[in-house]
Subunit: 196 residues, 2 copies
DNA sequence: ATAGGCATGTAAGCAGTTACATGATTTA
DNA sequence: TAAATCATGTAACTGCTTACATGCCTAT
């Protein structure tokens, strides 16, 4: 059980509905957890029946009504136990790095294209996270906020997301460049070796 | 099915037994994929029966015999199709970042300790990956190797691992420092407010 | 003797993904 | 009138994790 705690942590930022959580977890909650919509709805049901969150109906005009959830006292206790327990190692799974690893025996063109696409996504996420940082710290500069702000957790985890996306963007671009140049040289050699 | 391709990519680096693969995937194959031993043994069985890899028995003295596997022609084709296909987004799941996100409502001490531990692990992985890079490029410097080396894939994916571990180490240390300083100030305030 | 590394598996259970289903309302 | 967004689910399947099992050899 692991998604539980990510959901609880996300609900600390305020009441959210299942649908809002799907949006938050689609970006990966500042890049530390991803979850599919269906996972979230069933997790919310379980969390509520375990008494870790409580939901209330919000009536809306012009839109379907929604249920928003808050973390209960028992939910906070659960999070506290989770935070104090050992915890499992970071899990990363990346198709694209597998492709790069194998690229020498393959056609590099589609891999290069995917690297460029990933770089664009990383840049977009980075911009999003940087806006989130500005929003979280308000008028303060980063240093004073981290010293005196009253909720720095989301800020700190968002900083991790920024670092990761920045590195991802730069790695993708430099890898795409390297592979592109190698492919260009390979084409020249082929043209030299088999003309006339 | 996704582990398949990670296993195929790992076997491009040379013949490996199931046990050797468990060691490689335990580190996360330069940090882009993790797999448990039991997953690998069953995946190898399936890959062999699908004809994507072929195994041969290696008789050893002083040790149990082992079966080592090589990628077949069909395996390369499978990898080529995989590399050309769209591919899924990067998956990250990180307990520790969830804890940091929620840290303001919790006891920060165990979180700080886990950040320090993670920083040590990241530093160790970074050192390992940097040795791998030196080993892969041989006598060449990085730039010439990336230009003229004949297998740069593993090098490039290992560079991604380095970037990631470096950032992870630095983020953990700076986050631990921030939280430690806040906790120290909180203790002083408590001591000032309730003495005598 | 005993612990640790090498070597490979089975079985059960839980977590995560994919496909499908519904229905309202706003925007193009 | 079609597509997109809001809103929530069920069902089937695949993949991953955990616990257990075996046995040999080397080093302490």
């Amino acid at each position: 059980m692991a998604l539980r705690h990510a959901v609880l942590a996300a609900l600390l930022d305020g009441e959210h509905s299942g649908y809002q959580l799907t949006k938050i977890f689609d970006v990966g909650v500042s890049n530390f957890w991803y979850a599919a919509p269906q996972q979230l709805y069933s997790e919310l049901t379980r969390l509520e029946s375990d008494g870790l969150i409580s939901g209330r109906e919000v009536v809306q005009r012009g839109r379907p009504n929604k249920r928003v959830f808050t973390v209960t006292r028992a939910g906070i206790d659960e999070l506290a136990a989770f935070a104090a327990a050992p915890g499992r190692p970071l899990l990363i799974r990346d198709d694209l790095a597998v492709k790069v690893h194998a690229v020498d025996l393959l056609d590099p063109a589609p891999v290069i294209e995917q690297l460029r696409e990933r770089a664009r996504e990383a840049a977009a996420k980075l911009a999003l996270f940087e806006r989130t940082l500005v929003h979280l710290r308000g008028e303060l500069d980063e240093e004073s906020f981290l010293r005196h702000g009253d909720r720095v957790g989301p800020y700190l985890s968002c900083l991790a997301g920024c670092r990761l996306e920045r590195e991802m963007r730069d790695w993708c671009l430099s890898t795409a460049r390297t592979l592109g140049e190698r492919a260009a040289r390979a084409r020249i050699r082929t043209a030299e070796g088999s003309p006339e």
